[in-house]
């Protein structure tokens, strides 16, 4: 029989070895796979993306900016640029970098693959918002054009990625979101978030943590050099101007989106804020909730106009059961957060609830029914 101490030591050593090899992200195996992925082609494609992005922003990409974005030494970048020039992807006259037509096409293909993949992750999988960008960064290099087109078809040819960036179509055409930074918005103008910059990751993670997403209605309250105070979907947010500049907004067209404006008119609160016994009318489902979960909500009959009553709370505190169209449905708090409702006065007849709560108000029809024959 082996000495127990030795056995334990060998066992612990083995466990450490396995962890060192396969630990997600930091293990030797994932690292080795990453360095193998970082080939010349990947670097070229990332460089194309970077130059295109800076051109779009009206800034001049440089060797330094490329070295920073690709995280490789500057002489490596110089060598890379020489190669790319030889391939006819860009021209560099006197340090000015410009994409050629072929270079722009290649860059747009990569951007299309990246944004489509983000759209896919957001709509069809359970990955967190913080994971989307990193995964798309990897996959954009592996998808051939035919597969990108198939993905676009499967997603119903989406026009925007989940951050609000336009997705170029297969011929590379797209319309920029045309928003201005939140910090440039005059106070008290109703506006809508059209884009949230997903780089750098640290900043994006903070914006996600604030619960901000494209499609949100916003209104600036106060802008000082220290902070930006604004309303977003009825909640007050305070951000540093540096962060707020990463949010792009367009002033809300009051007329074209008339229907939307009417919908947003009643003070909407999340369903989770409803207290037991209170009744509310559904205003809408947050745009952040997409894919299978959104469909599930609609299957359950959570639609604008549906009357919802909070009825039971689990003894452990979390799921709350709501009466929705005569059925008792339990929803977790994070889910109820995604449903916007307008509170209604409680039924006045009897607080005991003798009168049943009916889904939508069929009262007019009921009144009509006897008179119709």
């Amino acid at each position: 029989m082996p000495d127990p101490l030795w056995a334990l030591a060998i066992g612990a050593g083995l466990a450490l070895l396995l962890a060192g090899l396969f630990w997600p992200e930091r293990g030797l195996w994932p690292r080795w796979r990453r360095t193998r992925e970082l080939t010349e082609r990947v670097l070229t494609e990332d460089a194309l993306k970077h130059i295109h992005k800076w051109e779009m922003k009206g800034r001049r990409p440089t060797v330094e900016s490329l070295a920073g974005a690709l995280q490789v030494p500057r002489d490596r970048v110089a060598q890379l640029l020489a190669n790319m020039e030889q391939l006819g992807l860009l021209t560099s006259q006197g340090g000015d970098l410009h994409l050629t037509a072929a270079g722009r096409d290649a860059a747009l293909h990569i951007i299309r693959a990246h944004r489509l993949w983000e759209r896919y992750l957001a709509d069809q999988t359970g990955y967190d918002e913080a994971d989307w960008h990193g995964q798309a960064e990897r996959l954009e290099h592996t998808l051939p054009p035919a597969e990108v087109d198939a993905l676009a078809a499967r997603l119903g040819h989406p026009t925007h990625d989940p951050h609000g960036d336009p997705i170029p179509d297969s011929a590379g055409r797209f319309v920029a979101h045309g928003g201005q930074p939140l910090t440039a918005l005059p106070p008290d103008t109703p506006a809508q978030i059209v884009h949230i910059e997903d780089e750098p990751e640290v900043v994006y993670a903070q914006l996600v943590a604030e619960g901000l997403y494209p499609g949100m209605a916003v209104r600036l309250i106060e802008l000082t050099p220290q902070r930006v105070r604004f309303w977003a979907n009825g909640d007050e947010h305070v951000l540093a101007p540096l962060l707020a500049a990463n949010i792009s907004v367009v002033p809300k067209p009051a007329e074209a989106e008339g229907k939307q404006a009417v919908k947003a008119a009643p003070p909407a609160i999340p369903l989770s804020a409803l207290r037991l016994g209170e009744q509310a009318e559904v205003v809408g489902i947050s745009p952040r909730c997409r894919g299978p979960e959104r469909r599930r909500f609609m299957d359950l009959g959570i639609l604008p106009g549906t009357v919802v009553t909070a009825e039971l709370v689990s003894p452990s505190g979390d799921p709350t059961a709501y009466r929705i169209r005569d059925a008792l449905i339990a929803l977790r708090k994070e889910q109820a957060d995604l449903i916007h409702v307008a509170p209604r006065p409680a039924p006045a007849a009897s607080p005991n609830g003798d009168r049943p709560t009916v889904g939508q108000e069929p009262r007019p029809e009921e009144a009509e029914a006897p008179s119709s024959p």
Binding site: M1, P2, P4, L5, A7, L8, G11, P24, L121, Q124, T125, G126, Y127, D131, G156, P158, T159, H160, P166, F174, V175, P287, G291, P292, E293, R294, R296, F297, M298, L300, P304, G305, T306, E311, L312, V313, S314, P315, S316, D318, P319, A321, R325, D326, A327, L328, I329, A330, L331, R332, Q335, G353, D354, P356, V358, G359, Q360, P362, E365, A369
Partner: protein, 495 residues
Amino acid sequence: MSQTAQLTGPLSTGGPAARPSQPAVTPDQILATARSLRWQVGSDYHQALMEAIYTEAARIADRAVTRPGEKPRFDLDRTIDRLVTSRVWGFPLMILLFTLVFWITISGANIPSQLLSNLLIGVVYPWLHRLADLIGLPWWLTGLLIDGVYLSTAWVVSVMLPPMAIFFPLFTLLEDFGYLPRVAFNLDNLFKKAGAHGKQALSLMMGFGCNAAGVVSTRIIDSPRERLIAILTNNFALCNGRWPLQILIATLFLGGLVAAPWAGLIAALSVVGVAVLGVLFSFAASWALSRTVLRGQPSTFSLELPPYRPPRVLQTIYTSLIDRTIIILGRAVMFAVPAGAVIWLTANVHVGGASIAEHLVRLLDPIGLLIGLNSVILVAYIVAIPANEIVIPTILMLTVLVTGMSDVGAGAGVLFELENTEDLMRVFQASGWTLLTAVNLMLFSLLHNPCSTTIYTIYKETGSRKWAAVGALLPLAIGFVVTFLVAQVWRLVAG
């Protein structure tokens, strides 16, 4: 053509494609218009369209559906709901009900199990032997068919059928009444912290009856990620087939540690302790799975709390017997037949002077000792993979075979059980069992690969070999690590 124009009409006010009277419109122009319109309508029109369809459906339904009677039992439902989900009574009621269900199952299954065993093994088995003698079958065919195939199948049926036939109908009655969704509702917060669905509480409890049935019952979870978690961690619920081993070992070894009046209590507590440990492992595994391999699976939570209904007793008993008991039993028998043959063959086919079983035992000896078990137990778990019910008889048979005891046992490859605890202890001590072996056997019985019926069911339910492999190897790996650690620490402390 005109339809296209009508569709785009309201969107593009006066665009070139909106005039159907102009014949000179080429397909390219229409496509170009469509493309530019796509950017105008924005990214959410698919969803807006879908929402409009749903809203329209709801409007039509509200107008067409009348609700006569206005629910006379509405108040009763509410009263029951307030009681079973109340802060004070919710959990005690739940524990009481499930203790009752398990108590009825365990105590009620003893008698029919004994009767079945007496019939299938006490009466039919010798009768089959006489029949074989009568028609003059060669000894190896008699051994393979009757001692191997028939005996292990009969064993599985007599141990497995009665508890399932009691547990499943009871459980289905609770389900039919509408109580089980309330249990999921009460426990959801706990499961949420492990990244799982509240309904996993139900599949886990079903797993205490039978893991295969537990895996099937995860169909009630409609969220893909949470369903996979429930499937992969169901094996941590100590199933019916493993209770007898736990009770036997706990009574013999752990109960024997204390004075006689306390023996029963200690044994019972240690078995319950193992079951609770299983639930804890199930939570831990759920937590780890939801944060690693299953991170990207889509997840949608919703839990419907249906109105209470008086249970339809006869129908429930019938369907739960047909749907659950018979199907599971059928699968178990399907696997027990070849396993019986394999068990008999390993004990009777000799290679180089020793049976295959003896070779295997010698081969696995170092591993068995390292993890505080012995190689006989490991071999038993390998050949008895079809059903946990036959692990104990297989261990007994193999021990007698390897140690060459002559006064107990029924011959090479023939499963048997001993009523007499002194004989049992004698067999165990002959192969060098200690308290550590007993404790680790109880742990390994909880933490090892599920039986082949369950593995096959996981494969059927997930449609994936990968998940079936994960479901089989994950608990086995945990079992090896836990028993290894316990063995080393035990030896260090005990000197």
